[in-house]
Symmetry: C2
Subunit: 471 residues, 2 copies
Amino acid sequence: MLTECVPGDALFTDLVSSAHRRFRRLVAEAEGKAKAFYQKTLGREATIQQIVDEVFAAVEAEGDVAVARYAKAFDGAGATESFRVSKERMARAWTLIPDDLRQAIQVAIRQVTDYQRRLLPASFGTDLDEPLGVRWMPLDRVGAYVPGGTSGSLPLFSSVIMNLVPAKVAGVAQTVLVSPPRADGTLATELLATAHAVGVDEVYAVGGIPAIAALACGTPSIKAVDKLVGPGNIVVTMAKQRAYGRVDLDMLAGPSEILVLADDSAHPAFVAADLLSQAEHDALAMAVCIAVGHGVASGVQRELAVQLERLPAGRQEVARESIVRFGRLVRVNSVVEAIDVANRIAAEHVELMLRDPHPAIAGLRHAGAIFVGPWSPEPIGDYVAGPSHTLPTGGTARMWSGIAVDTFLRRTSIINFSEADFRRLAPHGEVLAAAEGLEAHAHAIRIRRYPPRIVRPPTSVNIIVPPNQPG
Amino acid sequence: MLTECVPGDALFTDLVSSAHRRFRRLVAEAEGKAKAFYQKTLGREATIQQIVDEVFAAVEAEGDVAVARYAKAFDGAGATESFRVSKERMARAWTLIPDDLRQAIQVAIRQVTDYQRRLLPASFGTDLDEPLGVRWMPLDRVGAYVPGGTSGSLPLFSSVIMNLVPAKVAGVAQTVLVSPPRADGTLATELLATAHAVGVDEVYAVGGIPAIAALACGTPSIKAVDKLVGPGNIVVTMAKQRAYGRVDLDMLAGPSEILVLADDSAHPAFVAADLLSQAEHDALAMAVCIAVGHGVASGVQRELAVQLERLPAGRQEVARESIVRFGRLVRVNSVVEAIDVANRIAAEHVELMLRDPHPAIAGLRHAGAIFVGPWSPEPIGDYVAGPSHTLPTGGTARMWSGIAVDTFLRRTSIINFSEADFRRLAPHGEVLAAAEGLEAHAHAIRIRRYPPRIVRPPTSVNIIVPPNQPG
């Protein structure tokens, strides 16, 4: 079922390089299709990059009119002139979903809230009770993108929880959600219900480049955000990249990945099920098993074939294509070798199904999220465990972290020196400033070392050193 | 000296908008000059963006040869074929600088180290002693850019401390420094000495677009980094933007800014000196005083004129141009109004020279760094206080933070559920997965709720549930 390889062979080399290049492959494939799409929708050929630039320029110049025009061109019938979804509509959606789903959403929100609260960093010195401080402060306004469902399926509304509950815990006052409308112009009831439960402040039924451009540039009806988060398709990702600098981003996300490190203590059916859970996302998703020992390898191959057959139509085709194109089974001789492979791939999700996971977790440097043991399947993390499921892909776990409360915080340093603090460090500061040739910097230090008398009109308080800093 | 305005008037509106648009103005001005520069250096007209794209493509295809070719074209005589500076050269530089400078560098490194250590976030659950955990882990390899000195002055070598000591505290194993060579092909002794003291692992004498492209794409002699930090000129910043996604970035930095909130308790000479300390950086730097009360306003104007005259040639012209173009004095009636103005500008450096700074610090939402009272001049923060001087500019304090230890850390979540943890949450996870139509996700949960017996060859251990997770 899974193509097999061992570290060092040609297939293995290809695996490591594909793991990091699927995103670029995706861009290349998408650009190939873009010509025909823009010919159909805009009446002319163009690259995605050209359209991204064009939409940003148009939205900046024309605002909502441009957003509506491009949304109409790209999304067709569903595109609406007024994007905002009312709070009443969201509240009603909450009453329309089944009881067990409502409960599951509440449980997920509570789990994410509890976990994210533990990650809140501590400020210090903000009461000016020490010479140095730091203050963590939420962003004012953030936007999350939720892609539409592919071919009739629902949008992944759990990502509203995973992307915006951490923002709520951070204390962000204005949370914004954008998602492309369905053919009838509405958003899915489940999506609106989740947004209601999370307490999202503004929801707009607009997707794709126009949505990203609106949140980056701002329009009269959609105010610009400070940070844009959440994965989208490749076009959305390219628009996000264009927005970097005007707004901050969480990351640039590509297709999903799972890496399962398993030895003979692992349950092959669990391993196979978890591999398939990522394979079903996307034909470009990557599911890899690193097998320490022959027993688990053959068990996983057998289980995978059985379980794939049982997947319902639609999901089965996607999972099969992903397994055939990118699924691999890497046979290794030791956990040490397995960890080395995992670090080279730097996958989004890494499961450790090992008799003793401690050495593996200690050696694993690059992973978006780690799932340990048989009772921590990746999908439990996708929905209800607590950490966000928005994680770095395509090797970017080397540099990016998944979404968490700190994604929505900024850090400001505070310097609150007494005269003694100042005098202790001032000579060194002056030496450095002078050495860099920054005379005005050196002077701003020097003038305090030998402060001049203040010359004031006689009516004002006449002080040499302000009284709020007695030193 | 400073053009005066009050909140709401036309000059004030222009101030707020300039504060956020100086970066784009810079891009426009730079693009205007680029044509002539590329005509001279490459023999053809081009925009900066085109050259950035071209250099990245060339470096990716040809490696070091392309880096050397473009470095030669742009930096002329100083460009070298082999970029690496030896550790011996760095160690020797340390012995060549004056004693007081060596001591000042050591003091700065110690201060930054102490402060950054306080910001280290705490991991938990990494010993698998609880169901959920988080691990903070340093990046493997980071690169810092240090611009060359303008017109014969030294490069700002203090930025080696401010950009890379936090990386060292984070535990980054490979720290890399790039900086453009001088006309004789070498880097300044002070720069190398500082790199030696900080313990920078690799130093390369290459600057501009080729340096950024090399660190982003990797070449045989300059391995790609995971994250690129440090400000540069506009061309370097555009190259950094191009690199985003291949590598992570700290931010996109523009010209420096200072905002001094002062009431009549402030020493006008201190305020003026601090305004000039930023104005001397760059003709596009912005120095603004928000004056609560008439006494301080007139005092600052008077002092500024006096102190500007006393600045040495070179720095004086730069500071004067900055003060004339972007320097402003905003007269306000209350600290509340002053804070509102400061939040709209969202400046890199905000000084609070107020009788009672507590209400101001509580209300100030957007600032790269805050300096409180008469003994915390901005330049003391630039060199020796402890927080990094690499801070967000041009209104980006709304979304970015300055460099700190967390700039060089990644966060990985750990899920380590027992069977009981799993069973408590599994039904909700299954409901959510099913509602999203992700059948393989639902199945990966379901199969654990009702695990099948493992079928194994008789030689292997036959277990239903691996023993390392007894539940």
